[in-house]
């Protein structure tokens, strides 16, 4: 296969970071606080560490099959029919992922910012940019990430610095009260939202990265950085809003930004802070979409996935409107169904591929 598209190591790192932060920054403090209460930040750290296992697995897979995408080697390992069946599972996962993330974006806007505007106007506009990105291709997306990264960093640093005076350390005490179980549960939901969906990068990595040797390290660093941002937000949310208020808030990060008040002068800046997750959500949706389109194209044996982008976008918008019938369904799905679903598709499936692939490789020798 000809790989004319190449992205640099730095671009790849930033992409992984943005993708890890994704919607995690918006929703995870709340679900972590629900499980681990004042120890949510510990659960976040545990989840962050568990995330390395997932990334490690993906790197192992890529070592086994350099220059191939997930779809290609699934087919190689399992043959055409079984392979395509597994690939289809993965492709559907990407599609559901993309539409839920798009819904989060729209739901956030209609709940918090512009409640009277119909959700369609946000999802259509947002999907418009995503389609544009998909049609322009991977390189353009990667360069966009590189350009937006400093802006993200500035927003994040400013919001963190402005929030430091509000921290009340008593709110995270007592530190060791909650047992292991809730922490693991919280950590799993962290992994499920932040790290496991990184599987979509197996469509890009290592085949489309210009320095495959260093790409593994970049993958880890990207995940590490992204996780760090989420841990900081979780910590701030617990120590400023308290575990109880974080849990009840649908979007604790936004509630946090509302708290910013420096001398009654720098205040009400939350919508600027929302700019942070617009960036990260854009990349999360884009890469879910990219892996869906690329995957579908490869399953069907198409040379180029780009012509599929526009029809895909239309379906995505419609599906994002029906993927969750209401917000309570969304919360229920996220806390009960998403984690096992992500574990199946993003952990067990690659494990099987890795196992069978290794055995087959050895048999050939």
């Amino acid at each position: 296969m000809m790989n004319t598209v190449k992205i640099s190591i730095r671009q790849f790192t930033v992409l992984v970071m943005f993708y890890t932060i994704g919607t995690t920054i918006l929703i995870i403090p709340s679900s972590l606080a629900a499980d681990a209460e004042q120890n949510a930040w510990i659960a976040a750290i545990v989840g962050w560490l568990l995330g390395f296992i997932a990334v490690g697995l993906y790197i192992l897979l890529s070592r086994l099959f350099p220059n191939m995408t997930l779809i290609e080697y699934t087919e190689k390992v399992f043959g055409k029919w079984l392979g395509n069946l597994f690939s289809l599972l993965f492709v559907i996962f990407s599609f559901i992922g993309a539409s839920t993330v798009l819904f989060y974006m729209g739901n956030f806007m209609t709940t918090q910012v512009l409640p009277e505007t119909p959700i369609e106007s946000f999802t259509i506009l947002f999907a418009g940019i995503i389609i544009m990105g998909l049609r322009l291709g991977l390189e353009v997306l990667a360069r966009t990430a590189e350009i937006l990264f400093p802006w993200f960093l500035i927003l994040f640093m400013v919001s963190t610095l402005l929030l430091i005076p509000e921290i009340e350390i008593q709110k995270i005490q007592p530190i060791v009260e909650i047992g292991i179980k809730p922490i693991i549960k919280g950590a799993l939901s962290f992994v499920g939202t932040a790290s496991l969906p990184l599987i979509v990068f197996l469509m890009v990595f290592p085949a489309f990265v210009n320095n495959p040797k260093k790409a593994g390290k970049a993958f880890i660093i990207g995940n590490l950085l992204g996780g760090l941002f989420v841990i900081i937000i979780t910590f701030l949310s617990i120590s400023i809003l308290g575990p109880d208020f974080s849990e009840r808030n649908m979007y604790p990060s936004y509630a946090l930004a509302k708290k910013i008040n420096i001398g009654n002068f720098i205040q009400r800046v939350e919508i600027l802070m929302a700019g942070m997750w617009f960036m990260t959500i854009f990349f999360k949706t884009s890469f879910y979409s990219y892996s869906f389109l690329k995957g579908l194209a490869q399953i069907c044996g198409l040379k180029d996935h780009r012509p599929l982008a526009l029809p895909y976008g239309i379906i995505l918008v419609v599906y994002s409107l029906v993927v969750y019938p209401n917000v309570v369904y969304m919360m229920d799905f996220d806390s009960k169904i998403w984690v096992p679903y992500a574990l199946t598709t993003c952990l067990f499936l690659p494990l099987i591929i890795l196992g069978v692939g290794t055995i087959r490789g050895k048999m050939k020798k």
Partner: protein, 398 residues
């Protein structure tokens, strides 16, 4: 050419979705509410909203004979319904983002404030930076009806008064919505809110009130309201409220009185105050140690005392230590005896140091609280005595 035309047309089309006018609400369509009062109605709630009259608060061209604010009220089964119903009497939609104070009427507070508060935490327009106060001995509506001098907007006066008195006088508590909700839910701390009182009856309600040098109608903060879970159960007077502020480490600056050894009084200013509350499990029994460190300056001397001697200052420090300990213990005993709820957050302290013991203690914490072992230790340093040394009283009398 075709491409250029295409780009041009798409740009034109994009103007429509990108104007951002879908949800627009111009400033002159908003009824900016600064204060909200909630009272009990026969069915549901009576909500009174203090709305700014923009023409009267702008600098420069005010007509002068209209009030700076207007009060609208409506009743409804829910708060949400009542607020919307106000549009039948108000020309503008009530806009809540600039809310400064939420006043809750005493009779509603006695029945519980949990239910009416939900709307304020759920609605997207409401922020959490306003203060919540209880109208002592009146309805919330009466509180919002009083016109105030200096601050044209009464809700602003309520906000600033509370903030300032907390800063330099201490026996008030600035409680915001998120803090209140956390306290209501907490098993180891019961909420308190500041109480506000209306004086002067109906005279405060007309523009005439602010035309006088000494307005007859006034709004005044008087101590704190004590809650069991979300129900009002009693009041703390000013001195007890101060004790509460000391224990919760909310005192930044305040003024106190000391008694001279030979009669007469000395006024002192507390310039620094830091309280540390630590919990401990002592032979299976919870114990609370309160340690307060204060720095004071002497601000007024009304007796014969020789301030130039080191011994005098040491004695004064001792008597100040006893005084502040007595204030705190007085508050604690009052609350233990009459209210039997832990408003000081001692339960949370125990929770922090011994989570396992807390699991059994929290079952009947309020009961445990009434005979809790509490030790108070005070350390007062008098740093300065003002711009003069001994008072001129002495010479006069000799």
């Amino acid at each position: 050419m075709a491409r250029k035309l295409f780009v041009f047309i798409s740009c034109l089309l994009l103007l429509f979705p990108l104007t951002g006018c879908w949800n627009r609400r111009e400033l002159n369509e908003l009824g900016i509410s600064v204060g909200i009062g909630i009272d009990k109605a026969e069915k549901g709630y009576r909500v009174s909203v203090q709305v700014v009259n923009p023409g009267e608060v702008t600098a420069g061209k005010t007509s002068g004979n209209r009030t700076p604010i207007t009060l609208y009220e409506a009743t409804g089964d829910t708060i949400f319904e009542a607020i919307r119903k106000i549009t039948t009497i108000s020309p503008r939609v009530i806009y809540l983002a600039h809310l400064r104070v939420l006043v809750i009427g005493e009779s509603l507070a006695r029945e519980g404030i949990e239910k009416p508060l939900d709307h304020f935490s759920r609605d997207h327009e409401v922020r959490t930076d306003f203060f919540i106060v209880i109208a002592k001995g009146s309805t919330a509506k009466d509180v919002l009806k009083v016109l105030t001098p200096i601050e044209k907007i009464p809700a602003n006066k309520l906000y600033l008064s509370l903030e300032t008195s907390q800063k330099v006088w201490a026996p008030t508590a600035t409680v915001t919505l998120d803090e209140l909700m956390t306290d209501i839910i907490s098993e180891g701390k019961s909420p308190v809110l500041s109480a506000v009182k209306v004086t002067g009856g109906v005279e405060g309600q007309s523009q005439k009130n602010v035309e006088k040098i000494d307005p007859s109608g006034r709004l005044k903060y008087t101590g704190l309201a004590v809650f069991r879970e979300d129900k009002l159960i009693g009041w703390l007077n000013e001195k007890e409220s101060k004790g509460y502020s000391y224990i919760r480490d909310k005192v930044r600056n305040t003024v106190g009185t000391l008694v001279c050894p030979e009669g007469g009084k000395i006024g002192v200013e507390v310039t620094r105050s830091k309280t540390q509350v630590t919990g401990k499990m002592n032979n299976g029994k919870p114990q609370i140690n309160i340690e307060i460190r204060m720095e004071e300056n002497i601000g007024e001397v009304e007796c014969q005392i020789d301030l130039t001697k080191r011994k005098t200052i040491e004695d004064l420090e001792k008597s100040a230590e006893q005084k502040v300990a007595a204030i705190m213990l007085g508050t604690i005993h009052k609350v233990q005896k009459s209210f039997k709820v832990d408003i000081f957050g001692f339960g949370e302290e125990i929770h922090r140091v011994d989570p396992t013991a807390w699991k059994t203690l929290k079952q009947n914490w309020d009961e445990q609280f009434t005979h809790l072992d509490i030790n108070v230790k005070a350390d007062v340093q008098i740093r300065r005595i003002g711009t003069v040394s001994n008072s001129f009283h002495k010479k006069e009398e000799e």
